[in-house]
Symmetry: C2
Subunit: 341 residues, 2 copies
């Protein structure tokens, strides 16, 4: 015994479990998990919204950093002590999406940390194929941000953001902020739309121009900033009905909207605008390997303001309390769980 895991039992219940880790099987490594971030999907799970996918009590969590603790048979290119993160996608390699080169949206995807056990535990056995190398000198707290940065990087790549483009990001949670920061880093002219005062303050701290659409006319502001043309790109990250409406409203003719936020049911969409302005509305989900590797670079070179984004670190035993803090509306961006004790 001696190792701790926090199992999710469904219906919002987390329970601690002590265990003796199994040795990694062939092709696996065992990771000593350092830090695991709690994300919006984890909150959805904790509300019971994905109980059909967490089929047995096991730890969730997929935003993590750690070091290799043990190598299974046949694992090459890795050593005990290597700093790693995990790209938590396990595809079948045989479905039509995989064969077409889109294995990240495999028709039978196992999202590790939801559909199979995740990182909210001291020791985690994973396929060596999922590992992504971290620089030796990268702080492991900072490194726990790689996964959400990879999400934002994928969104940016799907939209092919270029220098000089006028970009509107609708929704200033962690992913929205990261998209804004990465887009700005590419030389785009970014405007964030967000209603929460605390998130607007954070945007100001990062120097990202922001509008509160509850008090200002977002469409009018965008027109002013674009000489009446409208935005080249709009990222819908709010997952809200007004967000989808704002996306089609602010785009210029032939502009591109990116669906990042998860819409729980079919919202009304101004399809006429898609037609009239010949918009492109594209979906962006998870990440590809290149996004993940670029995310490591962005985290390591300081493009991502990790210290400002990590609001607090809490012990593994307090995972349920961390989830409650995020639910409470308290002014936190990213909470990390310390999985080292």
């Amino acid at each position: 015994m001696g190792q701790l895991a926090i199992d999710y039992h469904g219906s919002g219940v987390f329970k601690p479990r002590e265990y003796d880790p199994e040795a990694p099987s062939s092709g696996q490594v065992q990771i000593a998990v350092a830090y695991t971030g709690i994300c919006g999907t984890d909150l959805t799970i904790s509300h019971g919204g994905m109980d059909g996918r967490v089929k047995e009590p096991w730890p969730i969590g997929h935003e993590m950093s750690g070091t290799i603790d043990e190598l299974g048979a046949g694992v090459e290119g890795w050593n005990v002590g290597d700093k790693v993160t995990v790209m938590p996608l396990d595809w079948d390699g045989t479905c039509s999406a995989c064969l077409a080169g889109y294995n990240h949206i495999c028709q039978n995807l196992n999202f590790v940390g939801i559909d199979s056990p995740g990182a909210l535990q001291n020791r985690w056995n994973v396929k060596a194929d999922w590992l992504v190398r971290l620089p030796e000198d990268l702080d492991l707290k900072t490194a726990a941000l790689v996964e959400p940065v990879a999400v934002a990087q994928h969104d940016i790549n799907r939209a092919a953001v270029e220098a000089g483009q006028k970009v509107v990001v609708i929704g200033g949670g962690p992913i929205g902020l990261l998209i804004a920061i990465i887009a700005r880093n590419r030389g785009a002219d970014v405007l964030l739309s967000e209603v929460a005062a605390s998130r607007l303050e954070l945007a100001a701290e990062f120097g990202v121009p922001a509008v509160n659409p509850a008090s200002d006319d977002l469409g009018e502001v965008v027109l002013q900033r674009t000489d009446g043309a409208g935005a080249d790109l709009a990222f819908e990250v709010s997952g809200s009905v007004p967000g989808v409406k704002a996306m089609t409203d602010v785009l210029r003719r032939r502009g591109t909207g990116v669906i990042v936020g998860i819409q729980p049911k079919a919202p009304p969409v101004d399809v006429f605008q898609i037609f009239w302005k010949e918009l492109s509305i594209i979906g962006a989900r998870v990440y590809e390997r290149a996004d993940f590797e670029e995310a490591v670079r962005l985290v390591a070179d300081g493009t991502i303001p990790a210290d400002a984004l990590i609001s607090d670190v809490m012990p593994l035993s307090e995972t349920a309390a961390a989830v409650q803090r995020l639910d409470s509306g308290e002014n936190v961006v990213k909470l990390l769980i310390d999985c080292q004790s």
Copy 2:
């Protein structure tokens, strides 16, 4: 006097008017209109749906063929007697869309035949810039189909249809049928979805495989035809809420949906599918010059089965009756108005 025009007066009222044509001004030509087709937009106008755009009583109509009757000053490259059609788009050339190269979706577009006088008259003065040359040996009835073919050609080009692709066309009216025919001509594997028995018969006549989603499970049929992957492309041409739903349902991961049909208000859209399958949903409106010129070739070389698509030809004086026939649900595809007498 001696020339006849049919003016649209708003509120569904068409009235004949005799007139002496003005001479074409500088840069214009006068066309002796041969045939003008009635399209879905003309029907929307006749239902009072666009009375705000037809600002004064004038003829509508923009699907036409004719011969040049008189040249205004400064017109070069054209001769009296040349067979022509008109690309009825008058852009300002100065707005951000025009400057970006998308003049067909100019922010201040004058759609000729709606926002300014159209072709339902014996003589029509138009800018020489709008003319598109027709082959000398092309029948002028057939040539009246060039404009709707250009619409379909633009949709096909926006979607970049390629040989071997699995294409679903949702809605089998004139534009849907034309998209199906042109896509098949490019080597795509086309399936039409349509509920009206008469249109299903027409599809069968053209050898286009079709499904009636009211009696068959369209999604299931598409999965069977695509080895479980879903369609590469789906064209939403029905302008209906179930059509938009079917579009996101039938597409494969990274598939492309094209919004062709006009949705009068914001319908529910399965935005989650756009995200989950990383779809691209793109709008396609009117046409560019290259689409129009390609449409002339497709009509001239017989790719478009003009005889089967043209259900009847009626005299100009019976324009209102033609509109009523199209409204009545009678089994007609395309009605042409003979504008020569």
